[in-house]
Amino acid sequence: MHETAVPRHPESQQFTLLEARGLSYRYPNGQAALSGVDLTIYEGDRIALIGHNGAGKTTLVKHLNGLYAAQSGELLFHGEPLQDENLKRVRLDIGVLFQDPDDQLFCNTLYEDIAFGPLNQGFTPEEADALVHESARKVGMEELLFKAPHNLSYGQKKRAALATVLSMHPDALILDEPTANLDPRQEEVFTELIREFPGTLIVISHDLTFLYGICDRAVVMEKGGVHHDYTMKELASQRKYLREHGLESSFRFTCCGGHHHEAPTHAHPHSHGRSSSMGAAGGQSDDRPIARQKSGDSDAPLIHLLDYSYRHPDGAWGVRDIHLHVNEGESIAVAGENGAGKSTLARCILGITEGRGSYAFDGKLVTKKNRKALWRQVGMVFQNPADQLFCPSCWEEVAFGPRQMGLPKNEVEARVEEALQAVRLTGYERRAPHHLSSGERKRLAIAAALSIRSRVLILDEPTANLDAGSEDLLFEIISHLPVTKILISHDMALMMALCERAIVLHQGRIIRDYACAELERDVHLTSINGIDYTLKNACRDAMLSLQEGAA
């Protein structure tokens, strides 16, 4: 039986900003997205909008911003229905930061993008100019005002997108997955910017630790409706609430990802009484399967890069002086700030790019001739599965690799069946990859790599933008894959839970190569490359302490 939590009725806030009464919405294909949503948002609220993928969060915020009209029910802005002039006003007074900054930055220079909103608000070009400079200064991008968005880094694009909204001085700010794919340093910068925003805040995110740091109210959505309305502390303190709504990843709220034996000096303020709540994944480091045995030279590491460097065509260093060995069966985390060279290193290991230096795979030197055959040994799951999935059906997607290998039809069929089963997508054969959920697409991308039976699997941010349920399932699948794993991630909890060893890249060079548990304790990283996990860790520890207090 589902326990109903007490709805939150703030007493301190008097003025209602937005109010939804029985709001319902169906997509043109008949699918219900919202059903009878009742929600009151007060001025000054800082709301975390939480729920599974597909729970209706994005559809709701598109209503709140006036992008979608209510099909049934009522939506009020400052007590008046969202119609005509009030509709125009809500679009200008409620700012939305969309998930993909490339959607938000649609002009040819950052200046034009930031000026777009204020000009539509009726400001003169001179007034708009002042607002542009003010917003750009706030996000630390004044010197990049005349740069084209496609020439900005991802972190810069995210901040630029925020500036486009801040320049309109909105009453409320709606943020859709604002910190997804940002490195910890960029995330902290972004978090500070959001904290400084004085108005109402509505944040959609799957990252509870981030939400805990900036929100005081948690609205949980499920199946198109508002399921619960808590204070953030209430939600965070009750593990049962988190479990009820599938908001807690089993590996995320376990200290050190379960690697206590590898982190003897780590302080565990929340360790007492935690053992019972460790969950199955807490001890997953112990029951992970052993990868298959080496097939080549028994002494040689599977991957051996020696003094390896690569430069991009524009002359910038991708990776420099890389010395790296990876043994068969190892799981290695690759950390580093955005632009540190993680993806370039992956491309070098995949054989897509050729630098200088020595690269040996399974004891054999990788030459120009055999480099093109590396794809049979090394597979990759890309950060955005949309980049990887291009076939009309899941079956064809998974069969693509084996077909390229020239395997007979029955062997292709057997491999597809096996790979889909491994990622629990049996029965999805005829479905279009484009119509799958984010979690399912990630799993399909893994199946596509598994069907080639590569010995090494590179995973680039596998859990980004996934809800806790999808994250858990994916984690379980990945942790049981019998291959050598190279995990590129900014997610400390995932790295700790999945890997034994971590390397840290900075400006293309490997600056650390140690046990994963040491990464969490490495306070010097902040001064070297600005990577700082302390904020996240502090939030996580605070949440764990709350849960222990409540238990």
């Binding site: 006036g66 539509n120 897509i352 630098g355 200088r356 291009f390």
Partner: protein, 315 residues
């Protein structure tokens, strides 16, 4: 009595010799170019102390930040007067006046301080079409009495009318002159300013907005295509001449279109959420000074002069 066409006969091996020589020369030039490029790339990989270069991708208005008489020119006057000049060049009927237009185009490109490489790349993009025109027109031009015609042995059914080279050459000369003016025209102001200027002189504003959006998202589209191509390569895709390659390429293009369609919807929503509507305001304001009108008058006068010379010398 009309004079008959003059047929100059050559043996077939002369065609093979000339044609083969031309193809060989083109292949040799391409091979040398590729070898030099590969060598430069290899050298760069081993050059430890080479300073990192700007990794920005070139845009249409990549040179808009420079300073020149074209950059300081009011875009509205610039567009009107240069377009008038371009129409005059397109109306020329003589190679000599076309060559003069090329001279003016070169002078304009030099004055605008735009790197020659950009102008040459633009010319290079047209080279294939112009080359095809130079090959096809002499073969398809109707033969009139008095036309010089070249005929190869055993290929009498395929006479080459040398008169055909004249219209083809004229088109090439005019195309080169106009292409040289494109950089001073669209590359010397930010694209948004050029589009705003076009709107202010009467062009539909929606068209300008569409051009701006297309220019913005062509880079995003390119990056998406590159990432998808990489993911295909990682899964063993190699271009071959078989059905599998055709199917994979079709899927690739289809998925790019689907993703673009989805992005279009998202971008439109992002625009609406920031107040996009019936009236679009611009942050750009233009003021035409005396010098702008003088520059405009110069290009209009130059166009008229070319037309007059072309007409009277032709007469």
């Amino acid at each position: 009595m009309e004079p008959r066409a003059e047929a100059i006969r050559y043996p077939l091996f002369a065609l093979l010799l000339w044609g083969g020589g031309a193809v060989l020369a083109v292949c040799l030039a391409a091979a040398v170019f590729r070898a030099l490029k590969a060598r430069r790339e290899r050298l760069r990989q081993f050059q430890d102390d080479a300073a990192p270069r700007d990794w920005s991708e070139p845009a249409i208005d990549a040179s808009a930040h420079l300073d020149s008489p074209f950059h300081r020119w009011d875009p509205r006057v610039k567009i009107v007067s240069l377009l008038f000049f371009i129409f005059c060049v397109a109306s020329l009927a003589r190679l000599s006046t076309g060559a003069a237009a090329i001279g003016l185009g070169l002078a304009a490109a030099r004055t605008a301080r735009i790197p020659w490489s950009r102008s040459f790349r633009r010319l290079g993009a047209m080279a294939g079409f112009l080359l095809m025109l130079l090959i096809v027109t002499p073969l398809t031009a109707p033969i009139h009495p008095g036309d010089p015609v070249v005929v190869f042995e055993h290929l009498e059914f395929l006479p080459i009318n040398l008169r055909g080279f004249f219209p083809a050459g004229l088109v090439c000369v005019k195309a080169i002159a106009i292409a040289l003016l494109m950089e001073p025209l669209v590359g010397t102001s930010p694209l948004a300013n050029t589009m705003e200027a076009l709107a202010q002189i009467g062009a539909p504003r929606k068209v300008g907005e569409m051009i701006l959006l297309a220019h913005r998202y062509v880079f995003v589209f390119r990056h998406e295509a590159q990432r998808m191509a990489t993911s295909m390569e990682v899964r063993g895709f190699r271009k071959r001449t078989d059905m599998e390659t055709l199917r994979a390429t079709g899927n690739f293009i289809g998925m790019l279109l689907v993703r673009s369609f989805d992005r279009t919807q998202r971008v439109y929503e992002a625009m609406l959420s920031r107040g996009y509507g019936e009236t679009t305001r611009s942050h750009v304001a233009f003021t035409a000074r005396k010098i702008d009108w003088v520059k405009g008058a110069f290009w209009i006068a130059a166009g008229v002069a070319l037309l007059v010379v072309d007409h009277f010398r032709g007469a």
